[in-house]
């Protein structure tokens, strides 16, 4: 692992403890709900008990009679200011508050403004709303039925189709499929899930009527983008961008769920502007689960073609995407299905075609990229499941089949069938390492013996390729804003620094890792480098933190800004040492004269000189800024192996072992990377075995609280065994790739493959996640393995 600075400096490769943890472990983090402003009011929201209904009447008189209830805001009120609709990040439109129709269960209906949070809740209970329920569309497969109601006539729609997207060569793929020795097919559903971050969403909107300035404290992963969106949405009522300050305080988990603009934020802004006082809105857990953007919800028809030896020849996938009543995803503009076209996976073949149709239904809008760098979880699940289905069909071990189909190390940079240029990789090495750690061959022998005895044991592999770090400006933008990111470094006269970046940590450890990057480049100890993010009045513009993009974009910006400073440092050192710049060499934290190492100037001496004794004609000070436009995305990868034992009577699944070998290029802080992987693996376990948002036929969410939406805990999680290979990114300034999302993306198919493998001798080829004990039991019953009583 790359690590050439001493511990006192703690550049790249040091597992230094997280600088931010001092406040978090003492309970001193400062979250949005900790903000209290003088005169602050509280907002609470009345939500729809129906999935699809006309609003006949909103009677707020009982609520308004409660002492302390100041206002009830309805869609009709917002309509007067043309604030009742807002754009989504996907250029669709979403209601802030409805004027006449609710489109999903738990949608905002009206808002209560009160002097206290408890009074606001009483106000919610006292509002009487008269609805005329209508038959909702819950099943996306029925949304295009000729007799289906048209959900978005406001957009001039005549059906419920949102968009069609396709990539690849349809005809060539059809030809290869038609002539292949083997074509395996499966219907794969990736269920609707929720990020369920520990902290729900919320804000304090504080409008200063004298200055005409709005300060918006909010749980956002992308403060700058939000500022621009607010200016676009509310510019017509006088909120222009220089009068808007967005502040993201500490965030208790984002995972993509805190990228969108939710109606509650806009209502709080409107209320603050109208009343002239700060307004706080904090969602409760049920609102968060039921109304905030979901993730996933892809129905995929997958086909994989191969020759009789199992050499993959082509992939074809047709997907139906359920977006709820509006496309409120948060993908780059040109990628309505995100990076789904990474779906060809880690394998070498040149023919593929994928198409997707997105439809409206009466469900919560979305879907956000939940720790999946834009729909990569769905793609990886599809290919990694299909490779296992193929291995079963040709009768080969799934590890062997993968080894035979992997892109080889010397093929990188590799152009994929759907157009990506994979930067670097060594897939064989990662899988081999995982197999060695877990003792793969011995496990297969054990499995064979257990099958003889009627016991159920399975081994599952996932060899994923990720695609993160959006992204190069020629392809990537959100609402037209290019997806660069930024860093500004200021070094103070005594050699201590502050750096501000356009991203926003939600637990990723940016205050530590960015400091380490700058420490690596400048030799200033990481502990002397303060990192600040999240305040749009001070930080340089950036697109925020999601899609594992912080290290690939802002991390690169930090390295390059630091290198700009090192170039300046060389000039100052040459001046101080009275030698030419070419005679100087850099060593960790100082410039020395070649051949005379005792003649040296440390970075601290150089910085001091930049304020006290800088060369004539040079700008004083020691500051630099860089906006980094990545030349390509980065492609982390890994191989995971999971072993499960299944209770043949109850269907209960126990993960006996889970080995994760990850490759994210050069590592900044190995401890933080390992922590990221542990968390991500658990969030991969979640949809594999526990989580799914379940609706009944009337569109009611059946598990909209943590009592029934099953977020796994440490008890359910296996002991994660992690290891790594290191294949540096060739185009990133410090050779790093993203890592935060690899485990969330890679884990579900490893677990699903293990469970299917345990049942494969019964003829089972696929089970949709989440794979619960009841689902396994149902299969065992179908196969005559258990008796009913």
């Amino acid at each position: 692992m790359f690590c050439n600075t001493p511990k006192e400096i703690s550049g790249m490769g040091h597992g230094m403890k997280r600088k931010e943890d001092a406040r978090f472990i003492q309970g001193k983090g400062h979250y949005v709900d900790d903000i209290k402003l003088p005169g602050m009011l509280y907002m609470d929201i009345v939500r729809s008990p129906y999935a699809y209904a006309k609003i006949k009447k909103i009677d707020a008189s009982r609520a308004l009679a409660i002492p302390g209830v100041l206002a009830v805001i309805t869609g009709r009120d917002l309509e007067k200011y043309n604030l009742h609709w807002m754009p989504t990040l996907m250029s669709d439109t979403q209601m802030v508050l409805p004027t006449d129709t609710v489109m999903y269960y738990s949608q905002e209906v009206c808002a209560i403004i009160a002097t206290e949070r408890y009074i606001a809740a009483d106000g919610v209970a006292a509002v009487e709303v008269e609805y005329e329920p209508m038959k909702p569309i819950v099943d996306p497969h029925k949304s295009m039925d000729p007799n289906a109601p048209i959900l978005r006539p406001d957009k001039g729609k005549t059906d419920n189709h949102i968009w069609h997207w396709e990539v690849g060569d349809r005809n060539a793929t059809d030809r290869v499929m038609a002539n292949a020795d083997i074509v395996v097919k499966e219907q794969i559903y990736i269920p609707r899930i929720h990020v369920a971050s520990i902290e729900t969403c919320g804000c304090v909107a504080s409008f200063d009527p004298v200055e005409g300035k709005l300060t918006m404290y909010m749980t956002t992963q992308a403060p700058h983008a939000i500022r621009t969106v607010v200016a676009l949405v509310a510019g017509h009522v006088g909120l222009s961008e220089e009068k808007i300050r967005v502040v993201s305080p500490d965030i208790g988990g984002g995972f993509g769920g805190k990228v969108p603009v939710y109606p509650g934020y806009v209502i709080a802004i409107a209320a603050s502007v109208l009343i002239g006082k700060p307004v706080k809105w904090i969602e409760d857990r049920m609102e968060n689960l039921q109304a905030d953007s979901f993730a996933r919800d892809y129905h995929m028809s997958c086909e994989l073609a191969a020759n009789k030896d199992g050499r993959i020849q082509a992939l074809r996938i047709k997907t139906l995407a359920d977006h709820g009543y509006t496309d409120a995803a948060a993908n780059p503009s040109k990628f309505p299905a995100g990076m789904f076209s990474i779906v060809t996976g880690s394998y070498d073949y040149n023919t593929a075609f994928t198409e997707m149709d997105a439809v409206y239904t009466n469900k919560a809008p979305g879907g956000v990229a939940y720790r999946c760098s834009f729909r990569v979880t769905e793609a990886v699940h599809a290919i990694e499941r299909m490779v296992d289905v193929l291995a079963m069909k040709v009768g080969k071990d799934p590890a062997q089949l993968r080894m035979e189909n992997f892109i080889k190390k010397d093929q990188f940079p590799y152009k994929s069938a759907l157009g990506w240029e994979y930067d670097s990789g060594d897939y064989h090495a990662a899988l081999k390492k995982a197999m060695d750690i877990i003792g793969y061959d011995a496990l297969r022998r054990e499995q064979a013996e257990k099958r003889q005895r009627g016991e159920l044991m399975g081994i599952g592999i996932s060899s994923f390729t990720e695609i993160v770090g959006a992204g190069p400006s020629r392809h990537f933008d959100i609402l037209g804003i290019k997806m660069f990111d930024s860093c500004e470094i200021r070094v103070h006269p005594t050699g201590k620094a502050i750096a501000r970046l356009g991203t926003k940590s939600q637990g990723q450890g940016h205050e530590t890792t960015y400091a380490q990057i700058i420490a690596q480049e400048l030799g200033i100890p990481a502990e002397h480098i303060q990192i600040e993010e999240g305040d749009t009045d001070t930080a340089p513009y950036g697109l925020g933190t999601y899609a594992s993009r912080s290290t690939p974009t802002a991390g690169a910006a930090a390295a390059i800004a630091a290198r700009k400073l090192r170039d300046k440092a060389r000039k100052i050192a040459a001046y101080l040492l009275e030698v030419s710049e070419e005679d100087l060499e850099w060593d960790v934290n100082k410039f020395f004269v070649k051949g005379a190492p005792e003649k040296a100037k440390t970075i601290q001496e150089i910085v001091f000189a930049s304020y006290t004794n800088h060369p004539l004609g040079m700008e004083a000070g020691f500051e630099a800024t860089h906006y980094y436009d990545p030349p390509n995305l980065t492609f982390p990868f890994g191989s995971y192996i999971c072993v499960v034992d299944i209770d043949k009577e109850t269907g209960e699944i126990k993960i006996r072992r889970f080995v994760a070998v990850d490759d994210c290029g050069n590592i900044i802080n190995p401890m933080i990377v390992e922590g990221q992987i542990h968390g991500g693996l658990t969030q991969g376990l979640a949809p594999a075995m526990f989580e799914e948002l379940i609706y009944d036929e009337d569109g009611n969410m059946l598990n909209g609280s943590l009592m029934d939406y099953l977020v796994p805990t440490a008890v359910e999680s296996p002991k994660w065994e992690t290891d790594k290979t290191i294949t540096p990114c060739p185009h990133h300034p410090i050779g790093a790739k993203g890592v935060g999302e690899s485990p969330t993306v890679g884990a579900p198919p490893a677990i699903a493959n293990a469970i299917v493998d345990a049942l494969s001798h019964l003829g089972v080829t696929h089970i949709d996640i989440p794979i619960t004990p009841q689902k396994v039991w149902n299969i065992l019953r179908e196969k005559g393995m258990v008796e009913t009583v």
Binding site: R117, Y118, A121, D122, A125, D284, R285, M286, E649, T650, E652, F690, I694, L702, N703, M707, D708, L710, V711, P712, T713, V715, E716, T772, P773, Q774, W777, N778, R781, V786, E787, T788, V789
Partner: protein, 290 residues
């Protein structure tokens, strides 16, 4: 997730608590650990006008053997059961259950008395106390009375407690030599209510004949239920694998589960069968080793 406004009382004695109950009647609710009541209040499913918090009453949290009974004060915490050497030594069924109730932070507050008085068949102690053939001591204006556990649970969230009575003690007959018990529970994740669970308490004599047997089932009926037919099949019989399996099948047949997100009716019946079989076997093992 914010309760409706309510008044709050914190009596220092059982007598004061009963006087408050008499004064406020059905407008009042007793709060002890709060882990059943408070969530219902936050969802506004329960909207009591007055809370009588008995958690400050001193001397009601004992766990001791006396007069042939294990006596558990109504305010004994689940965590106290878990940590009790007496329970660990002689009451494996109770220990099993205490360890599987919710999670440690809940068990540090939740009380055994509250778990029973709530009358919820999804709670764990009702089945446990059915298996132990426990007695409930209720205290009211007319003094104390003893309610056999089989007469305590009347229906869905309904118990034999009068509106002015408080559950003050649980009595478990001290098991004779050769006794063992076990609680087997299936839950979707830690902290969830049971998909199903079986509590078994039995006594085996020197000839391997089952002398006492109690089997309670969790969350598979409207009111907490005893697996009567399974008990009858085992009582005074030599316990063979075949007989145990038959008794377990009966429990699966006799329970009356609702289909829900935890599983279908068929699945729950099957789980009851499996858990009952396993609980009986573990109980026998423990009885033999006792």
């Amino acid at each position: 997730m914010i309760p409706q406004a309510f008044d709050y009382e914190s009596p220092a004695t059982v007598g004061e608590a009963i006087a408050l109950l008499q004064r406020y009647g059905s407008d009042a609710k007793i709060l002890s650990g709060g882990h059943s009541l408070i969530p219902m209040m936050k969802l506004r499913l329960a909207t009591p006008e007055r809370i009588i918090d008995i958690s400050g009453i001193k001397g009601l949290d004992y766990i001791r053997e006396e007069d042939g009974f294990l006596k558990i004060g109504a305010l004994a915490k689940e965590s106290a059961l878990e940590e009790s050497a007496l329970i660990a030594r002689k009451y494996p069924l109770l220990l099993d259950a205490a360890k599987m109730i919710a999670d440690p932070s809940v068990r540090n507050r939740a009380t055994v008395g509250g778990n029973l008085a709530h009358g919820d068949a999804a709670n764990d102690h009702p089945a446990v106390m059915l298996a132990y053939r426990a007695e409930i001591i209720a205290t009211g204006p007319r003094g104390q009375r003893t309610i056999p556990i089989d007469e305590f649970f009347l229906g869905f969230f309904m118990t034999a407690l009068e509106p002015d009575e408080i559950l003050t003690e649980i009595r478990i007959p001290i098991p004779p030599a050769g006794s063992g018990g076990a609680y087997k529970k299936m839950e979707r994740k830690v902290g969830d209510y049971a998909t199903a669970a079986t509590a078994v308490q039995l006594t085996v004599d020197g000839n391997g004949v089952c002398r006492h047997i109690g089997i309670g089932l969790t969350n598979v009926s409207a009111a907490p239920m005893r697996a009567q037919r399974s008990e009858d099949a085992l009582r005074d019989q030599r316990l063979s694998d075949e007989l145990i399996k038959q008794a377990a099948v009966m429990a699966g047949q006799d329970c009356d589960p609702n289909p829900d997100l935890r599983g279908s009716i068929e699945y729950k019946r099957s789980v009851v069968k499996t858990l009952t079989e396993r609980a009986i076997k573990t109980a026998i093992e423990r009885a033999m080793n006792a």
